[in-house]
Amino acid sequence: MSALTPTRTPVPRTPAEPGAEAPARRPLRRDLLRSERPGVRIAAWSTVVVFGGFALLPVYWLLATALTPRDQVFAYPPRLFPATPTLDAFAALAGNEQLFVYLRNSLLVSVLTAVLSVLVSAYMGYSFSKFRYRGRRSLMYFVLASQMFPQALLLVTLYSLFSAYGLLNTYTALVLSFTTFTLPLCVWMLKGFFDTIPDELIEAARVDGASRLRIIHSIVLPLSAPGLIAAGLFAFVRGWNDFIFALTLAGPEKQTLPPGLVNTFVGEAATAWPELMAASLAVSLPVAIAFIALQKYLVGGLTAGAVKG
């Protein structure tokens, strides 16, 4: 097989030899939840229920508030289930065209941020991982150090910069600004991933006559798909959730969901809680779906390089 054909070493899942001993360890989840000892089983299930409830209760509360009439939101004592559930808040969303503009803007800038972040950080990460040159480590730490700057400082600096170049109130400003704070982590994440790709594979490709770019594009990046997806998802979510940069740099027409929702539902004297919760629930769905669809890559990408092989 040519070194240019991406491949992975298969991981044996069962003992290869007939008659070999059963695996010494089964997955932890099965060990505990299906334990023959009732005490362990009860404790395991209790832990799952407690932690599951802890994780899901905010989502449930979001839904319950969205279904509660506004004058009952702060009813005392608080009710776990709305006394008179209503879909009014969701109906109000459907009739609010501006929210769809915010949604479109959010999708656009988050996707572009993810693409740009992955594109740039892939090359940077590869450089840090596979090349040795003077100042490499300093550059790596400098990239990381940029995470230490307070956001307010970055914001004011970027505001002045974009103002000088006429980029305020544009998608470009949003994508570039989001990329400034997604890039450091993406670079380090991908560097860790590239570290796990054996140098021999690259050397073999070079022996076969592949150029450096060919090696990156035909071998390294395809093998790094989980890492790239994890980094892209991280950048997407970071862009999707940003409030202050979008509020400051986007202007009214390019505004994204977080500032858009606050602008629409949070006021000086009152907040339209059911509508805000309904909107938050609705706009969380794309991110939730993306996570569910890509979770196997995400886990692999985030943990790559965590253990030295």
Binding site: F74, F149, P150, V266
Partner: protein, 438 residues
Amino acid sequence: MPTYPALDTTALSRRRLLQLLGLGAGTLTLAACVPEAGPAAPNAAGTAAAGTKTDFSFASWSLTEESAAPAIRELLGQYAGDNDVEVREVSYPYNEYISQLTLQVKGGQVAGAVHVDVAWLGSLAALGKLQDLGPLAQGVDYTEAGLSAATFDGVQYGLPWNIGAIGLIANTDLLERAGIAAAPTTVDEFESALKDLKKLGGGVVPYAASTKAAQLKDVLIWMETFGSPLLDSGKVTIGDDASVEAVTWYRSLYDQGLIAPDVDRFDARSLFAQGRAAIYDDAIVGRDAVVTESPDKKLADKLTAWSRPVLAAGDTPRALVWGGAIAVVDGEGAETAADFARWMTSDVDVARQYFEARGLPPATESALVLPDVADDAFGAQFAERITATATTNPFWVYPQYAQIETVIAEQVQAVLVGSAEPRAAMEKAGAAAQKLVD
């Protein structure tokens, strides 16, 4: 066997960390050295009516609020139609408004008319881009209180739009159930009334005073009630006997359960709306919020405004000025924006229309005597008992007033949670505030 990069290639040595911290500190220092725009003499607003009207922008946090935006948009449409101009809208949520406006004005992105909380005039004036609207205020029957609230450093930087105060609002239903027939006039009577309210039980918070650090600036008005001027000829007086006594008293209310932990203005409104708080501090703008949120459809009829109790009978009750004004930022369309500001704040028909929509107190004598305004019993009561003696916060004259309030609030919070003694905490707060003043 493949050779992977050694883990130690990414370890952060102490030396490297120090270098990075030094780099960060250097950058911050450079950023801090960027010159601030100093206050400049404001341009006097010309008489826009004389010139050709031009397009301009109007910035307001109220444009983001469903209770206010339709009424304001209708007025903007009226002005635009009558004068054949376009009015561009600029809006940010209230909590982000002043920081965003400051950035945008400083960056030259926003010019024209801007709706401002009167507390922010000093900060905005420091940018040196606000016009002196004194000439435009002449000949208009703005109330003295309104004009004064929209003045900073002797210059009329804003035209008063809706001027009122922040004071005590009570629920007469709960007061009656607790047997409180008349509003307490002194601090001792007030505390006694709170104890009676506490006896109602059922989780009722007698006084939903602010106890969250973000809103603990409310305690300043109690410090003034106890006799502290807060600021005297540029010297912060917090830490004096009066402020210490006020905070000690506040802490005693907390310890007795007469005020509740973790309450800010939003929480107080919610508690009050649900009938779980008998008294809270608010401006009249909060009326809409509590009435809308309340399951009690008759809550509007149960509201009553109380003069803040005084330390000794005969003292003048304290209240804090609250309100909105319209200022004008130099730049494109500023002349027409100034004309708009005068129309929006002084036209009687506009005042009637806006009062009907929002119930906020207008700032001209001719609007205040309009039948709708005069017949608003709670509004009239609020004006008479609270707004009449309201004064501005002395820290508002400093652009960094928000930081001053924060350092004080942090120390009051420390007292409430028992991690500091009132005198030490207030002396510390005073010293920190003094540094910001100097």
